[in-house]
Symmetry: C2
Subunit: 134 residues, 2 copies
């Protein structure tokens, strides 16, 4: 795949699930549709389960299901569940001896923080249920 593939996979899968929320899907089915591997799917969806967006069941007739109504799951929820910030915050954290570097880092970081918040706010305006209708 490519950069961003985890988020793409997660959003894509949840958007599909929003279509028939009660249907159980296996990682194999999902992987096939997404053109990837069941283990990769489980890795990504596992994060979403930790965040309370999905539930999974083992065994025969097991699989994945939405943990809430699709109207109550926003793109921001998914984004945050994967905790991979797209706005790369420059985590040097080495407290460099150089005061200019320090001032610079502070400045840039504050802008990035703001941008990140902005991104999350915008993503939270769309639910995975809405995506289908766009």
């Amino acid at each position: 795949m490519k950069r961003n593939s985890r988020l793409s996979l997660a959003l894509h899968t949840l958007s599909h699930m929003a279509g028939s929320p009660d249907q159980v899907r296996t990682s194999g089915d999902i992987a096939e549709h997404a053109g990837t591997n069941p283990v990769v799917v489980r890795r990504v969806l596992g994060k979403l389960r930790e965040a309370g967006l999905l539930t999974s069941e083992k065994g025969h007739a097991g699989g994945w299901r939405l943990a809430r109504q699709p109207q109550k799951i926003t793109l921001a929820d998914v984004y945050l569940a994967l905790d991979e910030r797209m706005v790369a915050t420059d985590e040097t954290s080495e407290a460099s001896a150089c005061s200019i570097e320090h001032a610079l880092h502070k400045r840039v970081s504050s802008v990035l923080e703001e941008i990140e918040e902005n991104l999350v706010r915008r993503l939270s305006e769309t639910s995975i249920a809405e995506v289908r209708g766009i």
Copy 2:
């Protein structure tokens, strides 16, 4: 180093140069201060030269110098010169057969576009000269 290191290196170096704009600095000096390698410095600063932010001179007493007044160089100029977008735009561009994926991609991309513009706008509000005084 780490992710974002090119931008960090570029901003850090220019901020220093803003302090004494007429001083010539060699890639060796810069690399030593930044804790990296002269070739890496030349690679990064080369981008800035292409963008018209720096000039370089070969030979004895050669080196790097600001191409304009530091007040006229903004953080956005530097960011754009390196053309490495921090807000990763999901360039799948495979026109997948799945309409949901298509709708999703469109939605997310438009948000990311907006965020990217927002970032540039914010970065353009600070010049490398101002950083020193923060």
